[in-house]
């Protein structure tokens, strides 16, 4: 099976010569959920916004269907179906739920109704301004808005940002369902490591900008100590 999206030797960061993430490689398959894990400051968000084209890469390539994406072009990424749900959600807070979704509607694409089937509780909030939704509803809307764009690669950054664990527990299975039903490749950056591993097929662990682990999620579920070592081992190594 050939990869839907591939990063080859990606250097990501904000200043030339000072990459936050170095030599990042990953292959994403359709319908699979990949958990991108790692301690804070590891560079997970930087990878996400670079792949989505919000930030030009410093080196390396992002390929979709084997074709390289233009550096730092969010539109080029969006055209190829690479869609980001940013950690701050970046909703249009003054617009209603419906308008937020409607803006992303494409001819012949996913309909608002289909998105609401994933998030039924948004249905009764359809006329409410996005800024007045609860945190969980806002996150649903952010994911829903991304789904309107018929993503082939869905990048979800910090789904749990500012949400109570119980809400995260409800949202993650929906993400799994999205991957299965729309056959999109999903990348999940998540603080709640174990919740993320429950729904993921594959896991990549970053520490200090380098990939320290890349393996099936099941392996990490089976032996959590591997992950703890990746988190803690790397940290204490850096301390010395």
């Amino acid at each position: 099976m050939s990869a839907l999206l591939e990063c080859r030797g990606l250097d990501a960061g904000y200043l030339k010569g000072r990459p936050v993430v170095r030599g990042f490689d990953v292959e994403l398959q359709a319908g699979q959920v990949t958990a991108l894990l790692g301690p804070n400051g590891a560079g997970k968000t930087t990878v996400m916004i670079t792949v989505a084209g919000l930030q030009p890469s410093l080196d390396g390539e992002v390929l979709v269907d084997g074709e390289a994406l233009a550096r730092g072009s969010a539109r080029a990424a969006a055209r190829k179906g690479v869609v980001l749900v940013p950690d701050d959600r970046a909703l249009f807070t003054g617009l209603t739920t419906r308008d937020n979704l409607a803006l992303c509607r494409r001819r012949g694409g996913t309909t608002i109704d289909e998105v609401l089937d994933f998030f039924p509780s948004l249905r009764k909030r359809i006329k409410v301004e996005a800024g007045k939704l609860s945190g969980g509803e806002q996150q649903m809307l952010a994911v829903g808005r991304a789904l309107m764009l018929d993503p082939r690669v869905l990048l979800i950054d910090e789904l749990s940002m500012g949400l109570a664990p119980v809400i995260v527990e409800e949202l993650l299975p929906i993400v799994r369902r999205v991957a299965t039903e729309t056959n999109a490749a999903v990348v999940l950056v998540e603080q709640h490591v174990h919740l993320a591993l429950d729904v993921a097929d594959h896991a990549v662990v970053l520490a200090h900008g380098a990939t320290v682990l890349s393996l099936p999620a099941a392996d990490l579920r089976a032996d959590p100590s591997v992950l703890e070592n990746a988190y803690m081992g790397e940290t204490s190594a850096a301390v010395r």
Binding site: N40, L163, E170
Partner: protein, 932 residues
């Protein structure tokens, strides 16, 4: 009845203002630019139209032919359409060339660039077609209809109706079309637009085309009514800005209504000027926008909506002068030698360089240090010059006192104009200062009752102890003694500005410039700091104005025009508005300064000066916010680093190094002195919150919250997202209005301003950290000391050593003291923000999510540091999502849910409390119940 007639006449200018206000709103909403050049766009369109009707196509580029013939007048409607298309294309060009590169810049930087646009258009038109008024054949029916004895000018009514129709159409379009929806969406979150597959740039391009066409329409339709004169049209922007501000730069309806009100009031005042002799003979019309802006800002002001942009560039660094002796001696020597070796016009150039340097320095203080964009410094200089005439010639006040009094008069006006800045920051300050400059020019400098008539207001030569310090006349002009006096005064003022930058007040100004909220949290009196900056800046400008008056031996309106003030602002910005050196270099570049004089002798600059200044201003804003002196400062810094032999350590080397202590703990080494959670017996209540409530509109954010903090306690404040934790902290520290009692050490502080609560012994951090990214760690932290300097109860850590040294040691910040904060990791920034809050020696500190962005190792380490801080007697209220940290570190935990306290007790009890579990884990009232 005549009154109504004049009010109706005002519909014409009201319509222009309305159209320009619409253009301003459209541009601001789509790209965050307050385009000061909107009036200039109308001017351009008016000329295009006028030339088309003469059968010519205007080429507004100096150096080319004025126009090319197009074989006859295309007729009225085609000419209008052609002009509108050209206007729209020009708007697109402006966006692509000037504002697209600035799309991530702060709104103030964009507005400054638009001032460059204004200068370029205005000067280019003046260069190509001169400043003679052009007359244009009527477009709208010119009849006058009499109705109930009122003479109604039909063209004005038509004009008004057209503009109102345009406003209504645009409103409907923005509300009901997909494009309008996309525009509103992109205005709210650019990032959101990008991830939604929308192109904020295409949206901006389309909106720029619309706004430029609307401005162009205004220019075309007003051309037959008001004779086309470059500066008059350009300054239509002031009433238009006033109107747009009434609509908060976002709402079309109120902006249009306000524009008509301003236009009609102006017309009526012009009539009253002739009727009531006690009114000033000139300039009351220009007073209207100023009053509207002031009234609006003072009574209804709220912050302009800002766009959720991805990054925001700051004003350039304001370097701290290291060594004053060498630059002062060298600068003085250069100035004196330049005066000695020159004569005649060139020496005058040196003298004007020195004089304009005062104005440069006044901008450095107000804009460079305090971050307030003032466009009125030249007008304030004018106030001083005209006041000097009054004091010295009118009342015979002797030399050193007359100019000082004059500068004080400028200070008074400067403080008055700075008052709105107390409530509102950023752009409105630029708008109100421009309105002031226009009003003062019209009302005073051009008012023949007060300006000394056609010959200007004479200012005699200054003499001190019988020595003539005047600039002289005839063969003696310019006399050396006047130049030397300027050198001495500039040396004094320059050293004063350097001392200001190094002082606490200077640090406070930079803190205010960087972030007003966190400045207040550091105990800085934000309002007082800003007003002080305005006062100092106005005083320096006043001295410059008095010297300019002496140098010209009279005060004339032409030396102090509002447009001239914009040009000089551009010059200072180009030179480097954030540093002392930039202020001085501004004098060299200023019109009349030495460089100008030399170049003018060689090439005859004429309008090219303004054009180059405009282009330079835009380039400076885009490429080098520190101005011409920026690269020089960086070179000096590098040399300094090399000579002081500081090892160049890669910033990464610092990252996480503060965790050394954690490693020590893991390896069994001695830890910091940290007490177990329940060791210390707690003292008296230091903070009591009683029945606290916060409402935003109809939403209850916090309701009847009550709890106590006892001395030496660490209390955790937890609760699910949206429970109101941050709001509660904001209310306790004075950043959100609240009801109920807040007692700090027995004193009720509810209703007390934030910085005064800090003086009284509080400290806080922010969820977003909110540090001053450009300042070093040490500078950041030392800003926080302000809170401890105003008496009041504070902790005393400093029994045995320097408090700051101990603070840096306890928080393990020693290694990074001299690094700019922007280079630090998230974890380090959190610590710096805690250190800044502690620098004011608070008795109680409220930490808003200090562990966000930290991994579990780091947050455990932070917990131990907080214990260490507590051991020095600081009571801590800790908000965090990291339950591990809260339950581990805190002596007691308060649980907030839906704005009310639902539990309060030791961690073990809280952990077991079913109410708490329900709030966190239960779904009983969780707003997110999926319908499955």
């Amino acid at each position: 009845m005549l009154h109504i007639g004049f009010l109706l006449l005002g519909l014409g200018s009201g319509a222009v203002f309305a159209a320009l206000a619409v253009a301003l709103v459209v541009t601001y909403r789509s790209s965050g630019v307050v385009n000061f050049g909107t009036g200039a766009l109308a001017l351009l369109a008016a000329y295009f139209y006028a030339f088309l009707r003469k059968g010519e196509l205007l080429i507004p580029i100096p150096g080319f032919d004025r126009s090319v013939p197009i074989g006859g007048d295309p007729g009225m409607i085609p000419s209008i359409l052609i002009t509108l298309v050209i206007s729209a294309l020009f708007g697109v060009l402006l966006y692509l060339v000037v504002f697209r590169p600035l799309r991530n810049a702060a709104p103030v930087a964009k507005a400054v660039a638009s001032i460059g646009v204004l200068l370029i258009i205005q000067a280019a038109i003046a260069a190509q077609v001169g400043t003679q008024a052009q007359s244009v054949a009527p477009i709208l029916p010119k009849d006058v209809v009499e109705l109930f004895g009122i003479r109604i000018p039909v063209d004005r009514v038509w004009f008004a109706a057209i503009i109102v129709a345009v406003g209504v159409l645009l409103t409907l379009w923005f509300r009901f079309t997909r494009f309008g929806l996309a525009t509103r969406a992109a205005a709210e979150s650019e990032k959101g637009a990008l991830v939604s597959g929308l192109s904020p740039e295409r949206i901006a391009v389309a909106n720029w085309a619309i706004s430029a066409a609307v401005a162009g329409l205004a220019g075309i339709l007003i051309a037959p009514i008001v004779p086309v004169v470059p500066s008059a049209y350009t300054l239509f922007i002031v009433p238009a800005l006033a109107a747009a501000l009434v609509g908060n730069l976002t709402a079309l309806g109120p902006a249009i209504a306000a524009a008509f009100a301003i236009g009609m009031l102006q017309s009526e005042l012009t009539y009253l000027q002739s009727l009531w002799t006690w009114l000033p003979a000139n300039g009351t019309a220009q007073l209207v926008p100023l009053v509207v802006i002031l009234v609006f800002l003072v009574f209804r002001g709220r912050p302009l909506p800002s766009r959720g942009a991805i990054v925001q560039r700051s004003l350039g660094r304001a370097p701290r002068p290291r060594n004053l002796l060498i630059p002062a001696v060298a600068g003085t020597a250069i100035a004196v030698i330049a005066l000695l070796v020159t004569s005649g016009g060139t020496r005058a150039g040196v003298i004007f360089t020195l004089v304009y340097a005062f104005l440069g320095l006044s901008w450095v203080v107000v804009t460079g240090y305090a971050g307030q964009i003032s466009l009125a410094q030249l007008a304030l200089a004018g106030v001083s010059a005209f006041a000097l005439n009054r004091f010295a010639e009118g009342w015979g006040v002797p030399f050193p006192f007359a100019p000082l009094l004059a500068a004080l008069a400028a200070t008074v006006i400067g403080v008055l104009v700075g008052l709105p800045a107390l409530r509102i920051r950023g752009l409105p300050v630029a708008i109100v200062t421009l309105a002031l400059a226009v009003a003062v020019e019209a009302l005073w400098f051009r008012n023949t009752d007060w300006n000394g008539g056609l010959g200007g207001a004479p200012i005699g030569a200054p003499t001190l102890f019988g020595i003539d310090l005047g600039i002289g006349s005839g063969e003696a002009y310019p006399r050396l003694s006047f130049g030397l006096m300027c050198v001495v005064l500039l040396l004094v003022v320059g050293l004063g500005v350097a001392a200001l930058r190094r002082s606490r007040l200077g640090a406070a100004m930079l803190a205010v410039r960087a972030n007003e909220r966190s400045a207040a949290a550091a105990g800085i009196a934000v309002s007082r700091t800003k007003i002080t900056a305005f006062a100092i800046g106005a005083f320096i400008a006043g001295i410059g104005g008095a010297l300019l008056g002496y140098a010209q031996t009279l005060a004339t309106a032409d030396a102090f025009t509002a447009i001239g003030g914009l040009g000089l602002f551009a010059t200072v910005y180009i030179a480097g508005v954030t540093s002392l050196a930039g202020g001085i270099v501004a004098g060299v570049l200023a019109p009349g300064g030495i460089l100008y004089t030399v170049l003018n002798d060689l090439f005859s600059l004429g309008y090219w000066y303004d054009i180059v200044a405009g282009i330079g201003l835009i380039l400076t804003v885009i490429a080098e916010p520190e101005g011409i002196v920026g690269p020089w400062h960086r070179m000096v810094d590098r040399l300094h680093d090399r000579f002081t032999q500081q090892p160049e350590r890669a910033p990464e080397a610092y990252d996480e190094s503060f965790l050394d202590d954690a490693a020590a703990v893991e390896s069994g080494g001695p830890a910091v002195p940290a007490t177990p959670a329940t060791a210390a017996p707690f003292g008296d209540v230091v903070l009591r919150v009683d029945g606290l409530g916060v409402r935003y509109g109809g939403v209850v954010a916090v309701e009847d919250a009550s709890f106590d903090l006892r001395e030496g306690e660490i209390v955790g404040l937890i609760g699910p997202n949206g429970a109101g934790k941050t709001t509660l902290v904001d209310a306790i520290t004075g950043f959100a209005p609240s009801t109920g009692r807040i007692e700090l050490l027995g004193r009720d502080v509810a209703g007390v301003k934030p910085h005064r609560r800090m003086w009284a012994g509080m400290g806080r951090t922010f969820q977003g950290i909110e540090l001053y990214e450009d300042l070093t760690v040490e500078e950041n932290v030392s800003v926080g000391q302000e809170a401890g300097r105003h008496g009041g109860p504070h902790t005393d850590w400093s029994q045995d050593e320097d408090y700051m040294a101990r603070l840096f040691r306890v928080l393990k910040l020693d290694d990074v003291r001299d690094r700019p904060v922007r280079e630090l990791s998230q974890g380090h920034k959190q610590l710096v923000s805690v250190a800044r809050a502690l620098a004011g020696r608070p008795r109680v500190i409220l930490l808003d999510e200090p562990a966000s962005g930290l991994d579990s190792t780091e947050s455990a380490w932070l917990g131990r540091r907080l214990r260490a801080v507590r051991d020095y007697g600081v009571t801590i209220l800790l908000i965090d999502h990291d339950m591990g940290l809260v339950l581990e570190v805190c002596d007691r935990v308060v649980v907030l849910d839906l704005g009310t306290v639902i539990a309060d007790g030791p961690p073990a009890v809280i952990r077991a409390d079913p109410k708490v579990t329900a709030a966190y884990l239960g779904t009983t009232h969780s707003p997110v119940v999926t319908g499955s």
